[in-house]
Structures are given as C-alpha cells and as structure tokens.
Symmetry: C2
Subunit: 455 residues, 2 copies
Amino acid sequence: MTHQEKALSYAKENKEKFLDNLKEVLEIPSVSTDPAHKDDMLKTAEWLVEKLESLGMENIKIYPTPRHPVVYADWLHAKDAPTVLVYGHYDVQPEDPLDEWITPPFKPTQREASLHARGASDMKGQIVATLSAIESIVKNDDFPSNIKFMLEGEEEIGSPSLADFMESHKELLSADFCLNPDAGMLSADTPTITYALRGLAYAELHVTGPSHDLHSGLFGGAVRNPANTLMKLVGGMKDEDGKITLPGFYDKVRDVDAEERAELAKLPVDEALLREQTGSPALWGEKGYSPVEQIGARPTLDVNGMLSGFTGEGAKTVLPAKAMAKISMRLVPDQTPEEVYEQLRQYVKENAPEGVECEVKALHGGNPSISERDGVGVVAMSDAFEAVWGKAPLFKREGGSIPVVGDMQKILGIESVLTGFGLPDDRIHSPNEKLDLPTWYRGIDALIHFFYNLG
Amino acid sequence: MTHQEKALSYAKENKEKFLDNLKEVLEIPSVSTDPAHKDDMLKTAEWLVEKLESLGMENIKIYPTPRHPVVYADWLHAKDAPTVLVYGHYDVQPEDPLDEWITPPFKPTQREASLHARGASDMKGQIVATLSAIESIVKNDDFPSNIKFMLEGEEEIGSPSLADFMESHKELLSADFCLNPDAGMLSADTPTITYALRGLAYAELHVTGPSHDLHSGLFGGAVRNPANTLMKLVGGMKDEDGKITLPGFYDKVRDVDAEERAELAKLPVDEALLREQTGSPALWGEKGYSPVEQIGARPTLDVNGMLSGFTGEGAKTVLPAKAMAKISMRLVPDQTPEEVYEQLRQYVKENAPEGVECEVKALHGGNPSISERDGVGVVAMSDAFEAVWGKAPLFKREGGSIPVVGDMQKILGIESVLTGFGLPDDRIHSPNEKLDLPTWYRGIDALIHFFYNLG
C-alpha cells in the first residue's frame, strides 16, 4: 500500500471524525458583519489554530486587523516541491431570516445526505475538507508539498483588511499558486475548476445643466436637458453589435482562442437555461461570442441605476437640473479598473456637448484574474478530480468578481485554483444552507490526490 | 364728449370704487384645492353674480360642476357687432407658506403703488379690471359689443371640469373669440399680447427585460439591459441639430414666416437673459431658430424624469429588470397630442430591440393654440394698448401650456386674445403676491378702448 493509498484509507475510516470536526466549528456563530459576534470570530480563529497545530503546522499566528483577524500557518519542508497558499474565510453570512430555518442555523443537523447549518457549504465545509485531507496524509507520511494558510474573517463583508495584509506580508505569503476552495461545482457529477473571474470598474456619471429645475414649457427647447444628454451619452456607449465604444476599451482584452472556446462550449449552460434563469424574453450580447463567452470571457458595460427629475405618479413638467447614472463595466484580463475609468472619462470628454457639465466618479474597482489552465496547480487539481470522479473537470470562467483573487494576482503575483465541493442548490447566504456529504467526502479524497500530485 | 370719452372719464373718477370692489373679492379666500374653502368658492361665485347683475348682464347663472361652479352671464343686444367670450378664474392658489407674508394674504393691503393679497394679480385683479371697464361703459351708453362670461373656479387645480362644461354648452358659449386676461405683460412699459401657446403630450416609456433584477456579474453581457436600452432609445430621439427624430414629427408643424420672426425678434429676451434665468452654462436648441423661437414657436422633447435600478449611495451590481422615463413633447400648431403619441409609439416600435418589451403610456395632453394676429380681437386689443400706452404691444408666443385656450379652440372653435396687466414680479403663486395699481388702472382704460374698438 503506497502512502497515498494509506491516506485515502485513513480518510475512509475517519469520515465520522471529520464530520464531528465540521459540526464543532459550525456551532460557532462567526457572523462577521455583526459586532455582537466579535468574540465568536476570535473563538473560530482559535479553533483553527488548534487544528493546524494538531496537523504539525508551524509559524501559526493570529494576525489582528482593524476588524477580524487573519490566521496564518505553514509547513515548508518539502524539498523541490511547489508551495501552495491555501485561502479560506472562516466568517459566515448572517442567519436572517431565522424563522425560515427548519433546524437552527448554528445547530448542525443531518437530514438524509445533507448537513444543514450556516457556513456548511460557504465555506467552513471547504476549510474542514482541506484540513481533513491534510490530516489523512500527515498521519501516515511527510507532507508532499509546501503549504501555507491564509484564513480571513472578513470575506462576507468585502475583505476590507485583506489587501493591506497581503501588501505588508508579501514575503510571508509568497507561494507558487493559491488554492481557493470557495468556488463550487456545476453539479455533483461535474467537478469544476473556475480559472478566470471578471473584474469590475463601477462609476457614477453625473450630468448637470441649469442651476435649478426649470419649467419645461417656459424653457424647453432652448436649454440642454441633462437627462436627455445623459441618455444620449450612455446610449452611445454600446453599438448595435454589443461592442463597447469607449476609446481603447478592447486594447488590453485577451482574446479566447479556439481551444478555450471548445472547452467553454462543453459547459452545461445554454440559451434556454439562461433564459429560464433570467426571465429575459431573448438573450443579447456582443456579436460573435456565445452567451457563456459573453458572460465569462468578454467585458461588458451595464447601467445599474439611473435617476433624474420627477419620478412619482403623474405628469410634472420639470426640466431637471441634473441626472445621474450608475455604470459598471465587467473587465477581463488584462484590463484594469484604472485604465477603464480613464477610457470612460475620455469618452465623456469627447462626446459631452456644450451646455452641460459632466463628471465621472470612480466608486469601486476590482482586477480581473485568470489562471493558466496548464499551470502546476490547475493540472494537479484536474488530475485529482479525474482520479476520484472518473472524468476530467469542466473549466469555467465566472462572470462575477472575487476581489481577493484579483488582488492576490496583483499583490502577490500568484494565480488561484478556484474550486470547491459546494453545489448550486446549497442555498448559501439563504436559510437552510446545506452541504452534500457524499460530494464532500469525494472532495476530501480529491484534495489528497491534489497534494500528492504536487509532490 | 363722446360716449367713449365719458366712459374713460367715469373710470378716472371711480378709481377708489373699483379698488374697493377688488379688495372686497380679495377678502374671500377662494382656494380651490382646499375642501375647507368650498363655501368660500360659492361665496365668490355669488359675489360675481351680484356684480354682473349690477352691470345689466343677463342669463346669469351658477352652473354646478363636480367640484366648483362656473359663473355664466351675457349681454347680446349689439347688432352687427362681434361677440366676445370673457374667460376668467375666480379661484386662487393656496397661501402657504403663511409666515412669509408681510401682511395677511386675505387682508388686501396697499403699500406704495401695490396692492398685496393672494389673487390680486392672478387673477381677481384682471376680472375686476374687466368688470370696471364694463361698468364705465354701461353707466353712460349701450354696450358696444356682445359679451359673454365664463368664469371658472378650478383653474389652479387644472380645470378638471371645464372641457366637459364647454362640450355640453357649445351653443351657450358660442362667440367670435375669447378675451382671456390671465396672461401678463413683459414689463409695465410693455403691453403684451400672447397669441400662441404650446401644447403638450406627456408620456411614460417603460422598458422591461428580465423577470427580476439580476446580478450584473453572473449575467451581464448576455442579457439586454432595460436601462441601457431605454437610454439608447431616448438618446436617439433628438439629433445633433436638436431636431426630433420621431417619424412625421414635423409634418404638421406650422412654420414661422419672416414677418413673424421679425416681430418675435423685438421681444426683450436674449441669450444673456435666458442664461441668467436658467443658470445654464450655454443655451442649445433646434438649429436655425433663435432661443425665443425655440421656446415659443418650435416643438421640443424633454425628459422630465427617469428611474431604474439602484440609485442609493455606493455600488450595487444589479442588472435592473426595468427602466422608466417620463418624456414630454411641447407641441405647436397644428400638432395634436394624439398624433404625437402615435409617432412616439411608432418610433419605439421601429427602434426597440429584441430582448426587451417597451410600453408607451400617454399621461396628459393639451392642444397647442394660436390666434391670427390680424383677427378682430387681437387688432382691437392692440389698438387699445396703443391708445393708452402710446405704443403697439409686443406679440409673444408662450412656451408653456394653458389647456383652456387649446380646449376652447378645439371644442368651441374660437381663438383667444391672451393678455392682462400682471407683471413678471407680481409673485403669483408665492407669498406677498401683489398688483401694480398704476398699470391696473391703465388696463381698465385699455379694456374700455378694446370694447369700443369691437363696436
């Protein structure tokens, strides 16, 4: 029996113990947004420290931040093996509305094959799966790769301290890549690796004209209307083919090659599914790309909100003094929020007419991220999935943003392997969050394979 | 001494009496919007009946309507003379904010040359001026023209009953033209006749797409965004030259001829004044027309309000399910709201893309109106101004809408001579409304001339 086989055997024999560990940490209500749970946050961090100690991890430390601490640990004695930085967050979403829970959110309860509790899937379950895989290995063997942990307590409130923490601990956190098990699977039968995330540049465009709201009868026709002007400006930001017209917008966009397009075409996401999920009468996007590519691999520009003048019931003949639109652009590598804000400003400068003043306010940005699909971490994870599920994972690009992934790429210079064993129907952020236990146990096995694949 | 001279002399001798009449009616708080003043409305109507009786008017009657009554009277014994329908409204705006009044709104108070009270200028003063001119004539002579009165009590609440009243009393109200002294003068030295008003077609455009608000990361790029779509639609409704692009929009627009343009160019309204009044950084409007023409003689399209998605503080990455804009078009003869609504619907039908649904809701329309500047009423009033002020009046087109004027043109088939003796600084609708008495007395004289000019 090889060491790897022994580890897999250990995992099989200790299913109950792993589950008890998970239940233990799920009982601590580590709701990061609620100051009343400050002690529970620390208690969770200390629980993690204890587990990491029991696994022989070193340099374990709770690093304070302005809000909730970061837990660090490492084990760096595998010669000629890569170093993986494991990212996780030990905080959870609030449990409201409490009365919709069938069993209490912080009393983990098994019903059929699922464990129900807040944080079961997002993401204490994923952290405990990783710790369980490591335990299965270290009880029988030296660890096959170098490993570091960075476990934060602020993901559910937007990770306000993490970028600073990374900036000031670059050396400590240096690694070959990051394992981030905070992404899920497309289904229990479909192991999934998310290798790219879109970034974000979120702005407000303000157009002001007259010094005060005017009577549209007394002045309409001789005065530039800020609302009409805003609509013309924003209306021109996308052409008939769904291309964005900001100057230079596509200059830095990495194209998707034929091989990647073939890979993306395998994803079980088609027009019918997207129409069902969105309730949209018809899909529409950038010409020449499939909906999956439009959402995952291509940038876009959406109005998120707009407001001007009179919006109540009935007819008020006001010519508004000002108009505002919230506009966000989803970015793909190698766009940056800073460059895109500048392109937006340039567009407005080139197209804004006389008679109004226009201002672009940058609100909130995040870098896009991408991992090479033939990188050491991705290949190790892909092979691990294949060993357990008997088939290669699907490779997915995600249209949303996980800022930590882009920040890590920018600050630490490392790519992330985004994966995990949560399922689409896990009701994360909602009442009755659950974790599918058969999938979770397969995930522990896959992680054992993953670490050996790195060695 | 001619009859006309006797009448002018009577007016000179009875200045105090006329003023006392005016004060008497100003003391009745005929606030039409406030149900608490329902009795005061009736009291004012009865006061008018008494005055009309004292002038020898006939067929005097208070016609009830769903809210406040219409006072009718006539005198139809002038052979071979035209019939003038005098329009007025005996209701006033609310007095709020009361504490900003220097003297109480319903205690008419003279300070220097002004009489201060709610309704002094808008428009009890104008009604009493007309009654005083008639009194000056009938005390010495038969009345030189035929005359009818239609005095309503709902102008300040949008004249909800008047169109129906006119529809059901077409015969009773038949006349050659209407005298409507509810418009003002450009200054005390500038007698003014407003001969055209713009109409209105006020609509809402609703664009709906997804069945619910979506996450802009998870779906943005493959779904038609209703806010972007609305902005593109509305942004295209005006071209770079300020021309409206709705199909057929200008087909019925009467052009202004060279003579009229020369007349309008005399108005003391220039770019500097409009910039000051609006606080707009620069004026802009339909190419080829002056600002005065753009406001008075040309149609336009303004967004009055717009709303979609998230409009609070900060960045919410929502892809909104719907978007709405309030859009109003100011119309000029011979456009009609019905036709313009149809043009708007046609534009939306031609330009709305797949993936969204668009609906145009017609909210509120009013017909434009114009009076021939060589019509009998306009010439009589113009000559009357010249006799009293020693100069011809300025002819003005008004950008706003007075629905009763358009409705009268449509229902009764008659044009209106819009004039009056209010001044721009009379603070109508505001605290400390006032009437300039020297101008008012000149107005009474002008009306005496006017009625003799008709005879």
